[in-house]
């Protein structure tokens, strides 16, 4: 073609392209990203509500770091702070020793939802990062084709994203990030929008490539809520706790790659991480003393309602009852093909209601819990109503309504109370769960139009 001929005529063209001078390739162990005492908070009703607190984290060349945490633990927020996409409230984030002032020049992001531009072809999507750097068209195309081949997308160059399957789309996401050869590849739950088999395949291929030594980036940072994924991929697993997000524990994964799922060491590590995720935060506890936040001391401020529907938690209770009122949590989740993110709120809810408790790796039902699991609809409502009064926010709403002569209160009243301790999104979530639980328990009713809670007397006495 003409362009080929042009290229031969002007071989000196590419070096003239204004690509910023690449920093020398980092040696293994060099600190690439450094977060020092990072906190991040969002504005609440009357004060800042912390999302992240006191995070110290370093990412070094040659390692894969997994940020593991439950939803709401601020792991994606931390990733975006490190990528320079959102400002930290205090503390510093630096890349190769230079504090960030804007988007991090040494990172490229892979998104959960792929974030492909549907109006561009695969190749044009992959070229975007180079185009932004002002790389010339020919060199750009060459690099893009290289990355497309590397990631197993050859043949799809001229396809549009909507013609591709989810797995192929995420490959485009990877190719687009890898082609700019960032120091750190940032991945925000890259496999969670894919089906199980596709995710498994893509993970495997990615780690193969990482091991092969031809991987264009020097480090990977992965955000996930999937424990197995973290153990499969990472050299280091950083577990974040919730409200506010702090580093609860860090695990070094010394396992050889490719990692064998059924090896004893692998399973043992999974169990350890699982315990950290399900257990209460490790607080300095004096042996022999009762737990600091016992059921009596629970308030709506320190014990938020887990985001669990009544159907979901009673389904879980029935599952556990089928297995003899006790079962291993990790196995249960595995059998149900549920992510830990889906199971943990339900477990928390059972625990909060006194229907179950976590002991070691196991979830076991209490006596009430077993009764709840076996009850018919009316009985289960009675049991649930009693138990729900142990949930602080439900109790607060019920008692407030009882004390109020009219037996009705605007949702705004509770919204204001909660706003001192939760972000507006969390407030909505709390009230939504409280409404669901209270309605099922027939403790109170909620009218969406005037946004009003009122005592559910009608249902308690005589059905109309």
């Amino acid at each position: 073609m003409i362009f080929d001929a042009l290229r031969k005529l002007r071989p000196a063209r590419s070096p003239r392209d204004r690509r910023p001078p690449a920093p020398p390739r980092a040696a293994d162990g060099d600190v690439l990203l450094d977060a020092g005492n990072v906190t991040k908070s969002y504005a609440g009703a009357d004060r800042e509500l912390p999302v992240l607190e006191g995070i110290d984290l370093q990412v070094r060349a040659g390692e894969v770091v997994a940020l593991l945490g439950r939803s709401g633990s601020g792991k994606s927020t931390l990733l975006r702070c490190l990528a320079g996409l959102i400002p930290v409230s205090s503390g510093t984030v630096s890349y190769r020793g230079t504090p960030l002032t804007g988007a991090n020049p040494g990172t490229a992001m892979v998104f959960q939802t792929f974030a492909l531009l549907p109006w561009l072809t695969v190749q044009q999507n992959v070229e975007l990062g180079l185009e932004a750097r002002g790389v010339g068209a020919l060199e750009r195309a060459e690099a893009a084709v290289g990355a497309i081949d590397l990631i197993g997308l050859d043949g799809f160059e001229s396809a549009y994203p909507k013609e591709l399957s989810g797995g192929m789309r995420q490959r485009v996401g990877f190719a687009r990030a890898l082609v700019v050869e960032p120091d750190v590849l940032m991945m925000d739950e890259p496999f969670s929008a894919l089906d199980v088999l596709t995710a498994e395949n893509l993970r495997g291929e990615l780690m193969e490539l990482w091991e092969s030594g031809r991987f264009p980036t020097r480090a990977i940072m992965l955000v996930t809520h999937n424990i197995e994924e973290a153990v499969l991929m990472a050299d280091r697993i950083v577990v974040l706790g919730s409200r506010p997000g702090t580093i609860r524990e860090t695990f070094e994964v010394g396992l050889e790659r490719p990692r064998q799922r059924n090896s004893a060491a692998f399973e043992e590590l999974i169990d350890r991480v699982y315990r950290t995720m399900t257990g209460r935060p490790k607080e300095p506890r004096v042996p022999g003393r009762p737990e600091p936040a016992g059921p009596e001391r629970r308030t709506y401020t320190n014990t938020p309602l887990p985001t669990a529907s009544v159907d979901g938690l009673s389904g879980l209770a029935e599952m556990v009852a089928h297995r003899g009122d006790r079962c291993d949590l990790a196995d249960l989740a595995d059998d149900l093909v549920l992510e830990i993110d889906d199971v943990l709120p339900l477990v928390d809810a059972l625990d909060l209601l006194g229907f179950g408790e976590v002991r070691g790796d196991d979830l076991l039902l209490t006596r009430v819990g077993a009764a709840f699991a076996g009850a018919d609809v009316q009985e289960s409502k009675t049991l649930f109503a009693e138990a729900a009064m142990g949930a602080p926010l439900v109790r607060l709403i019920t008692t407030s309504l009882r004390q109020n002569p009219s037996g009705a209160l605007r949702a705004g009243f509770f919204r204001d109370l909660l706003a001192h301790h939760y972000t507006s999104e969390q407030v909505d979530q709390q009230l939504e769960t409280a409404t669901d639980w209270g309605r099922y328990a027939e403790l109170y009713a909620y009218d969406a139009d005037p946004e009003e809670y009122r005592l559910d007397e009608g249902a308690a006495s005589t059905p109309r």
């Binding site: 400002p87 002032t101 974030a115 549907p118 975007l128 020919l138 197993g152 050859d154």
Partner: protein, 584 residues
């Protein structure tokens, strides 16, 4: 499949992938080339007429020979497209400024909200006087005034749509742009414009449809007891009406219909079909816009060739635009400096507005006193009554019909394009026929005015009701059949709640359109007869003709007030209700 583990040196050069199919000349290419050539020739030929000199002392005389109609139609079309181009540029600049600058946003968006409610026709006089002064002795002044009138009917809508698409850009696309350090230029053309493209095209099409009305109204206008006329279909029809020549009016109506349908077929259909590629959904859509013209264009080699020819220019432009900077947001903002800037900005903007208000107050006081507002406020109530009756009657008539059409896919296919054309057909074109009808039947204009206003406005209600009925899921209708829910109960439980959100959208447009139409509908002329109704529209129209600026300002301000008030008090509440309760 697995990742390749060997480097690929053997594969074809990357550039060969651009080449696509071999460039074979086909008959499609020849046709497209000829069409483009003809278009360029016509534009030049017609465009020459716009700079013809004329003197303000001559009175306008329009030749109503039907043979002149093609030329007049071309002139009208040129005006429409120039206005559309201006509106698009304005949209980009205004919406971008409002979306990017926190400070400007606070002024630009409320201003847009008000501009949207200002009756465009009321300002036509001001525009005509201003532009004639700007281009003394040339037709260009009148031409500009007409384009300005069309522009003001299109721009606000498009700008609002594009602004909201800019501010509601999906989070991941924003992060993509910043994480990969896109230049600002790239972000705009690669991310922001494509994301808003579908809205922009559809809004443009709707606004363009509304623009015909203002084209017709602005081509022949009398300001301060002087008649001005531009060659065009509108002025042709105006002259034919003045002569009372129904046959020639018929020719004009026919030409208008051909233009509306032709532009739809040759321009908007292909454009909406092309815009499908900007849909930000990751699955193949089932219902897609199709266009014969676009398919034809795609079959020719011209788009590819054009793309290749302009590539160096585009690359050069992108390279030059790097000076506009990189899309990045500073992580640290000095709150003190920010606050100082805010205060300074607010002070300057506030002072300017205050100064303008004081000046206006002084002007009105010196001329007529503030009592000038009293009359429009009172006659406004009459027009308000007309608008309310219009919307109510149109609802009762068109909602059942729209539901009927929307529920039947066969009827929809036939009716939707027809209604679309009816909605964009300038109703003021048909006014003379209506007046002839009023004169024959003795219907007073005070009542007939409602009919005239409805000629244009009612279609929005029908159009949106059809869309709303189509959006009711089939399974819901099947459930109703299954449960035996019929008649009034079915309407109350399913149909009315289902079409409500779309109906509200149509209602807002219809009532806004009716207010605007009142300016030309409350005073109508046919032959030597002029009928004048009592109302705010007639008040403004009268002030225009006599060049009484204080009365004009008062009239326009009061009408804006009524429109804004009606929107705030009624439509916006219904909108919120629809959003909260009846969104499907």
């Amino acid at each position: 499949m697995s990742f390749r583990t060997r480097t690929t040196t053997s594969r074809a050069s990357p550039t060969s992938r651009f080449a696509g199919r071999p460039a074979r000349m086909s008959w499609a290419d020849a046709v497209v080339a000829a069409a483009v050539l003809v278009l360029i020739y016509l534009t030049l030929r017609v465009g020459q007429g716009t700079t013809v000199s004329f003197s303000t002392s001559e009175s306008a005389r329009v030749d109503t020979d039907p043979a002149r109609l093609p030329y007049d139609a071309a002139r009208s079309l040129l005006r429409m497209f120039v206005a559309l181009a201006l509106s698009t540029v304005f949209t980009f600049v205004y919406a971008y400024a409002a979306a990017k600058s926190r400070r400007l946003e606070r002024i630009l968006i409320p201003a847009l909200d008000i501009l949207q409610s200002v009756p465009v026709l009321g300002f036509l006089t001001v525009a005509v006087t201003g532009f004639i002064a700007l281009f003394p002795g040339s037709m260009l002044g009148l031409e500009c005034a007409s384009i300005f009138a069309i522009f003001t009917s299109q721009a606000w809508n498009m700008t609002f749509g594009f602004y909201s698409s800019l501010t509601s850009l999906p989070r991941e696309l924003d992060e993509l742009s910043r994480s990969f350090r896109f230049t600002r230029w790239m972000r705009f053309w690669r991310v922001e414009v494509p994301s808003g493209a579908i809205g922009l095209v559809w809004n443009g099409m709707m606004s363009f449809g509304g623009g015909w009305f203002f084209l017709v109204a602005s081509e022949a206008i009398s300001v301060n007891h002087r008649d001005y006329a531009l060659p065009g279909v509108g002025s042709y029809a105006g002259a034919a009406i003045a002569d009372g020549d129904l046959a020639r009016v018929g020719w004009a109506v026919l030409t208008m219909a051909v233009m509306v349908i032709g532009v739809n077929f040759l321009f908007w259909r292909p454009l909406t079909a092309w815009a499908e590629k900007f849909k930000n959904e990751q699955a193949e859509a089932t219902e897609v816009q199709r266009s014969l013209v676009l398919n034809f264009l795609r079959r020719s080699n011209w788009p590819r060739l054009l793309g290749r020819l302009t590539r160096p220019a585009r690359h050069g432009l992108a390279r030059a635009a790097r000076v506009l900077g990189v899309d990045d947001r500073p992580l640290r903002i000095d709150p003190g400096r920010r606050r100082t800037g805010d205060v300074a900005f607010a002070a300057v903007a506030g002072a300017l507005i205050l100064w303008g208000l004081v000046d206006l107050g002084g002007y009105l006081h010196a001329r007529t006193g503030l009592g000038v507002f009293a009359e429009p406020l009172v006659v406004g109530l009459v027009t308000l009554g007309r608008v309310v009756v219009l919307v109510a009657v149109a609802t009762v008539v068109w909602v059942p019909i729209g539901v009927r059409i929307g529920f039947s896919p066969r009827l929809t296919r036939v009716a939707q394009p027809v209604v679309q054309v009816l909605a964009s057909f300038p109703a003021n074109f048909l006014f003379p026929l209506a007046v002839w009808f009023f004169l024959r039947t003795g219907l007073p204009i005070d009542v007939g005015g409602i009919l005239l206003m409805a000629l244009g406005a009612q279609w929005y209600i029908l159009f949106n009701t059809i869309a709303g009925a189509m959006s009711i899921p089939t399974d819901l209708r099947e459930v109703m059949d299954d449960l035996g829910v019929r008649g009034a109960q079915r309407w109350r439980r399913l149909v009315l709640p289902g079409v409500f959100p779309s109906y509200v959208t149509g209602g807002i447009t219809a009532s806004g359109g009716a207010w605007n139409a009142s300016i030309v509908a409350e005073v109508v002329t046919f032959g030597g007869t002029t009928l004048t109704a009592t109302g705010l529209g007639a008040y403004i129209s009268g002030a225009t003709q006599s060049g009484n600026f204080p009365r004009l300002i008062a009239g326009v301000a009061v009408m804006s007030l009524y429109v804004v008030g009606l929107n705030r008090l009624v439509w916006r509440r219904l909108y919120r209700l629809a959003d909260a309760r009846y969104a499907l």
